[in-house]
Symmetry: C2
Subunit: 634 residues, 2 copies
């Protein structure tokens, strides 16, 4: 069998392999790491590599778009060598970006009893107009409006000059038989989206987008508006990350020179890349996408729309606008029908944005007769405490410690991150689990929570977060930043360095968890309803998905309640945006939630600082608040 | 005294004159004609010349804009030679274009009892906002809306993303003390036009435009919206004329290639030139102009807005749109505040446009308990017959004969046009009056009406329009186009040619007047109200201003009624636009007029052709309809 030479950009020597060898096997031969989370079944797409030149055969291109393939991408686990070739292994981030989730998550299921013809604001109405005659000289626009009134009861219709300009030709070319797409709007101001010949419209899709813009991750769901069903889901890192990890650094970047424009373009590109990838997969062109609802924190919303967010950062922390009007898509820059409508969901304050109002709606808190605590821990921590009758909310500037920032070996929850830790109470030796089952590169949020909890319960740190340097273990030592604990030795880590947690790291984590717990206390105190009366603790946001409740209670991040009261809801922000997209009643309810919430600015609250200081301990100064932890400590 | 040499582009030799000689005197020295309608007082601006190079001193530049002067323009009657110079005498049209009427015509007077604070839709509201604090975290937009509700009772406010983007900075820079300009809109949809610091707004003008787009002439009135007063009036030839004299040739031009764009740009340039000239004179920048109402025939309206007008020309003659929405100025292209509002007035049909609905409103017909006949003779003839209770309307495709087109020596009513003619019944010798009191170059509409009337009453033509070739006068002769009558011999004309009217010319004029008179008849017959019962005949349009009623009756163009029933209203279209601009009730009434008018398409009316044929005689087949003419004939 013929032997071929395969070169990898990152590898000095060509690798000789027989024809028909899978690229993953070639890579293994050369010691080159290629991710294969699905085990080489060609299902996850994460082993994508780029064939720079040479002959290969792709057995499957599932998960790759046409343009991916055109650019040379191939699944290393599904592609065999058929000649000399040069291969590039892109960094994991580059691959992550290209991925579109094909399966639809359970939380994206169509609401029960949903009736698109009643709930939707988008209508596509087929109309056969009586052609004009010498005896019926009604103008084209008047003729259309009259027919639309008769066919669909639409009394008035907003439009643009652009649409009026093209109307006459469309009506005549279609022989006066057209499909009219209208957005009924929120408060009775229907707007024309388009007029097409019926022949074109019959088979044309009619789609919408539910978009959640997180500081770290942007999520887009593509929805069939004719049925209300989610057709595709996609998530990507917000490309703005390259210009600042957290909200404050983004705002600062936006306020300098053309920073605002740069950030706007980056988030638009993030969104539009996903729309294009999904559209390609589903064969849906931009003109078929006629409506988008947008959720996200207030800063992300302002950056998307090109509204300067400076005042969000500066006392007294004011948003330029919480309730945005519906906007013509062409003005916003999202890659959809420019005559379509973009509906930014309403926020409450600078640090309680549409992600929370949409999230609260999706969580069902508003329908609950019992008291509920809603938490969204992302780059910030937002809390809502309430029921169907009342709601108070606040934002805790927890900082990005739980996303791995401000921690020496912290990292995001990616491949190579330690996500769970156990420590032996006798030997102080740790066991850990790494995302992707590879050598560890660092520790992500859930790993940090577990680590601090285990260190506390095994006595490696005391309730003040001080590391006990008298323990008989080499894992506790003095490092550059003072006392530290070694989770992984250099020999077992991917980086060739010891992976440690320092006293400073623990302080940062304590401050983050204390900010959130103090938020709970202030809200509860303000309304005079004890925190413990919360029948449910609903946790939204991507962070919540991976959190270990027991460990989070152990460190005093979450209140000490029985486990069955906690519920993880996933991305409630995008779910709320989805429900608002397909159901006008949901959209109105989100607006009602935004108006009903009482916002408490913690930095203006006298009791906050005290509550914060009390929570700077493990689990808390007042141990009686954490009976289960007290029990475990004994 | 020093002698200098002055060169004129049109003159072969330099002219030597002493220093301090007026340019008009230099020109006279060289036999070069420069217009001086005001007699050299520097008031009319019509003697403007361009100093290409050299030293002159301008004693006065009244009537010239700064940019005129920058381009070298000078008033020849006010400018003296101070060195060698080269002068260009622009053609009269070029001067005419640059002129802005300084005096305000009587018809532009402020309506009696007008109260701008009630009638206007534009409001400028001064607001002092409570600055945000840690305890009052309302967003900027919400704060503005609340304050506006409290200060002016404005409940909802439409805006654009652009305005939201700039709001935060303006509020903070102005220390929360701002002037907010709002358009209240037609049906309760107020729209934000702008927010400025109060310090800026205090002395800032707030202006509007009333615009009438005629096929031949475009008129713009600049209005102070704070008082409702007209500040300046300007008129120019519609620059589209270069691409077709009449409506049909414009539509044909628009339908080829980028013809629509070319025509749109030309009319925008016509309008914007006048706005800039007036703005410069009044020191009013584009941002201070926040509203414009537009009147004009349906084709002109469609061309301005870039809406293809083809269907207007083709049976069954349908307009794309009669009732246009208010449009953001930025979309239309008029040189005003891009956030301002452009309000195109409503039309009725392809050939009865906003010029007629606005004109009828301005004429007062709608308030008349008695029957009124309203006529607008421009490039077409539109007629409305009615009272406060009912209105019928039609358009007569009279053609542009009365504007001098289709007549061998016809011309527009410019300098050099014969505008009035008398013929001696014994000698058949004419006396005439020429616009500008110069040697004649041709005959304009009023001159043609007078000429045909005189020829008929003196027997030079018979009732069929045939020239009597047996008369003992050299002025009746056979020419290239058959029989003709010489009004001015070559020796007395400016062109060095005989100025004549031919049999073919007379036929064209008969067809034009017959079309209009037949229109009267069809309308009257349709409603069963005799034409003679009209208590008033109101004549709008620029043509009407110069018409001699007696002569028009003599040829059967106007119905034979006593003179006191005729009234000339001037440009009712722009007047209607002005009233709509300053008074929302007027605007609503114009819409009501558009809806109330019954349009009769003459080409679909069986009785029209008969009425037309009967009217092809002088004055009419049925002489009993014209008793005063019958009396004059005897």
């Amino acid at each position: 069998m013929a032997e071929y030479e395969v070169r990898f950009a990152s590898h000095p020597e060509p690798i000789g392999v027989p024809a028909g060898t899978l690229l993953v096997d070639v890579a293994r031969e050369g010691g080159i790491e290629i991710q294969q989370p699905c085990g080489g079944q060609g299902r996850c797409g994460r082993c994508a590599v780029r064939v720079e030149s040479g002959a290969v055969r792709r057995r499957s291109v599932l998960r790759l778009s046409k343009s991916d393939v055109a650019e040379g991408y191939a699944l290393a686990c599904q592609t065999v060598v058929e000649g000399d070739a040069t291969i590039e292994v892109p960094p994991p981030e580059a691959i992550e970006r290209r991925l579109v989730t094909d399966h639809i998550a359970p939380e994206a299921a169509l609401p029960e009893g949903y009736d698109p013809s009643r709930a939707q604001t988008i209508r596509r109405v087929e109309i056969r107009l009586a052609p004009p005659t010498m005896d019926d000289q009604t103008d084209d626009w008047g003729r259309l409006c009259t027919a639309l009134r008769q066919a669909a009861g639409i009394e008035t219709l907003d439009t643009t000059l652009e649409q009026i300009r093209s109307l006459g030709a469309i009506l005549r070319e279609s022989d006066w038989h057209v499909a009219v797409t209208v957005d009924l709007g929120t408060n009775g101001a229907p707007r024309l989206i388009g007029v097409q010949p019926v022949s074109e419209a019959a088979t044309a899709p009619l789609c919408g987008l539910a978009i959640d813009i997180g500081t770290t991750t942007v999520t887009v769901w593509m929805v069939d508006l004719l049925t209300g069903r989610v057709m595709r889901q996609a998530s990507q890192y917000n490309q703005q990350i390259a210009r600042g990890e957290d909200i404050i650094s983004r705002i600062i970047f936006a306020s300098k020179g053309d920073g605002g424009t740069v950030l706007r373009d980056l988030v638009l590109e993030t969104i539009n890349e996903m729309i294009r990838a999904m559209g390609e997969r589903l064969d849906i062109g931009r003109d078929h996408i006629v409506k988008a609802t947008i959720s996200g924190n207030s800063t992300m919303m302002h950056l998307l729309l090109g509204i300067a967010p400076e005042s969000i950062r500066l006392e007294p922390f004011i948003t330029p606008i919480n309730h945005l009007p519906r906007l013509p898509a062409g003005e916003v820059g999202i890659d959809m029908n420019p005559a379509g409508v973009v509906d930014p969901l309403p926020g409450v304050a600078s640090y309680v944005g549409a992600d929370i109002t949409a999230g609260v709606f999706a969580s069902g808190l508003r329908d609950s007769a019992e008291t509920v605590l809603f938490i969204d821990v992302g780059t910030n921590g937002e809390i809502v405490f309430g029921s169907s009758d009342w709601m108070v909310t606040c934002a805790c500037s927890a900082g990005p410690a739980f996303e791995g920032a401000g921690v020496v070996h912290g990292m995001r929850a990616n491949r190579g991150a330690i996500e769970e830790v156990w420590i032996d109470g006798g030997t102080y030796e740790p066991t850990y689990r790494v995302i992707g089952n590879v050598a560890p590169r660092g520790i992500c949020g859930s790993g940090l929570i577990a680590l601090v909890a285990e260190m506390f319960l095994t006595g490696i740190v005391d309730k003040g977060g001080h590391i006990n340097q008298t323990l008989a273990t080499p894992r506790v030592r003095r490092g550059l930043h003072g006392a530290e604990y070694v989770i992984a030795w250099a020999a077992e880590s991917d980086t060739g360095e010891d992976i440690v947690i320092t006293r400073v790291d623990i302080d940062n984590l304590l401050r983050a968890k204390a900010a959130i717990y103090a938020g709970f206390n202030v809200l509860a105190d303000r309304v005079g309803v004890p925190l413990e009366t919360a029948e449910h603790v609903l946790i939204g946001g991507s962070f919540g998905k991976y959190i270990n409740v027991e460990k989070a209670v152990d460190i005093g991040l979450l209140p000490d309640m029985s486990w069955d009261r906690f519920e993880f809801l996933g991305n409630t922000s995008v779910k709320g945006a989805y429900l608002a997209l397909i159901d006008q009643a949901a959209r109105n309810e989100i607006a009602a939630i935004a108006s009903a919430m009482t916002y408490i600015e913690l930095s203006a609250d006298n009791s906050f600082y005290e509550a914060f200081t009390s929570a700077l301990f493990l689990p808390h100064t007042d141990l009686s608040r954490f009976p289960s932890v007290a029990a475990a400590m004994t």
